[in-house]
Amino acid sequence: MKSTLSGPRARTSSRLAAVLVAASLLAVAGCGSSDDTDTQAGATGGAAGGETSIDLVGFAVIQAAYDDLAQEFAATDAGKGVTVKGSFGASGAQSRAVIAGQDADLVALSLTPDVDNIAKEGLIDEAWSSGEDKGIVSDSVVVLAVRKGNPKGIHGWADIVKPGIGIVTADPGTSGAAKWNLLGAYSQALGENDDTAAAEAYLQQFIGNVVSWNDSGRTATDAFVKGTGDVLISYENEAIAARAAGIELDYVVPDTTFLIENPAAVTTTAPQAAKDFLAFIQSDEGQQVLTAHGFRSVSGLAPAQGVEGANDPANPFPDVDIITVEDLGGWSTVNDELFDKENGLVTKLRG
């Protein structure tokens, strides 16, 4: 090193310099461009008459539907120049992320308590669910998704607790889908006599057959699609969306199943655009976007056109006996009895 000739030395130094300069340029360019995004947004917004962006925190399976909703919304007067930036994940995890400080203007989660928990922290108006629809923007039901051709002959709840059937579901610790699934399994077993012992016994068998508990409804779908288990318990809209996306599976809507109600609410700091977007989602136009993605509309609106991916696209949402969370005494009762982390039935049965 001491006796380095000037030639190679100059070359090596310049090469080193190049590496260092490249690295620092990357950093500087990066910093610069992050500022650019803001100014750019401002600039294009100026042309379109006030560009706003809405931070959407949504549950795992709604991305495709909400991308469409955002697009349709942008075509309305209220939505002109509004972009929606979404983050999607397990409902419970998303709820806790908002509480922990993640930016959110609009939250669209799987179940009401996940929004309530945010409201308790003062980040959402406590009265968010006081309206006619109780803050619910989309409905669905719990279905059983099976392998193409239904090789295990699964037609209802009774078939999935047979020995040797592997159940794939989400995990109630993080996921909203999981709670709906477990509620479906539990409540249908109550029967007409409200037989809690029978329901508990069923749930025990159900949990015994679960081979895969996943972080979210979507990761559960992924695990099932990749070959895990024999039956995936999921949202009707998720089964429809999977089929519409070309994934090979069939699904069964059990004769008795559970009504899934997904809430949405704006945060206290949300811009007007977020409120407008929420209003759009609740409008007939928005509801039609959701039905096209396999959700059931809150007002019972029939889909305007065939729903791709449904068992029968022309009649995508079969009428079945439906149990609601109200029938079970509301969320606080259900959360205490089933999902409490100390004494909940699900906690106990999972041991």
Binding site: S13, R15, A23, V57, K85, D222, A241
Partner: protein, 279 residues
């Protein structure tokens, strides 16, 4: 003697062949084959769909954010690595070995643990989170948190490359420069830096590679908002979780880009290696 060795080697060809085949087969089967299959998968529908993904807003935003986070992290680690490296080698102080050990710890622990640890300190309900929030500083679910996570997972990479070279070089030259009246800055710029340049470049390249690819720790501390707090690795993961051929294409296209960067950096690193060994 060279000829004898060569003859000896030729005599043991059978064992050599078996070993060679096992080594090549293992590496190709485990690494090369899967990598090639991803490239093939990415371009299965031709170039156009890949180009569409690579020019989409969300991808470009993710690319930009990744460059920002990895860039800042690498600069921080370079400054820290060189500074601390010089201190560890040139000075003897109480707790020196402990400091050295602490620097190594983060790369040996799970990135998830790194992320969780940062949340416990800098999250809203963490030790400092509340105070920072009152001061208007958001760490978790924001770029600073992602930078911290990335810095942590690549903390010792520059330092560990620089230290052996510094030790090898000793302090004579610097002392000579000092006796000739060179200031501390001049000594660093004229003597120390040229001495460690290859090791430094190597460490920087390593650090950059690790930072660009960090996933687990960033996954924990980022809200992963598309177009905002989604890095390339998160983009790959989120796209992969989405249903449908388009989303899969996004995942593979972004994965391909990350892979291309990784391979390019390895080639740079490989080019640096022999020079460093010579010095």
């Amino acid at each position: 003697m060279d000829a004898r060795v060569r003859r000896a080697r030729r005599r043991t060809t059978r064992t050599a062949w078996v070993l060679r085949l096992v080594a090549i087969g293992y590496v190709l089967g485990l690494v090369a084959l899967p990598v090639v299959s991803v490239v093939q998968h990415t371009f299965a529908d031709g170039l156009a769909p890949v180009w569409d993904v690579l020019t989409s807003d969300d991808f470009l935003a993710a690319l930009r954010l990744t460059a920002v986070v990895a860039g800042i992290a690498t600069v921080l680690n370079t400054v820290f690595g060189v500074g601390m490296g010089v201190l560890l080698v040139r000075y003897r102080f109480w707790g020196r070995r402990f400091v050295s050990a602490v620097i190594d710890l983060p790369v040996s622990i799970s990135p998830i643990v790194v992320g969780v640890a940062l949340i416990l300190v800098y999250g809203t309900y963490g030790w400092f989170g509340g105070a920072l929030e009152d001061a208007g500083v958001r760490v978790i679910f924001s770029v600073p948190g992602m930078v911290l996570a990335t810095v942590l997972v690549s903390l010792p990479l520059v330092l560990r490359e620089v230290v052996p070279t510094l030790e090898e070089a000793g302090v004579e030259q610097e002392q000579a420069a000092q006796s000739l009246g060179a200031s501390a800055w001049q000594r660093f710029w004229r003597v120390t830096l040229p001495t460690i340049r290859w090791a430094l470049a190597y460490g920087v390249a390593l650090s950059l590679a690790r930072s660009l690819g960090e996933f687990g720790a960033v996954r924990v501390v980022s809200g992963s908002v598309a177009g905002e707090s989604q890095t390339l690795t998160l983009y790959v993961n989120d796209s992969y979780q989405e249903l449908g051929a388009d989303a899969q294409r996004q995942a593979f296209a972004a994965a391909f880009v990350l892979m291309a960067i990784a391979v390019a950096l390895i080639v740079v690193i490989a080019a640096l290696r022999p020079k460093e060994e010579r010095s």
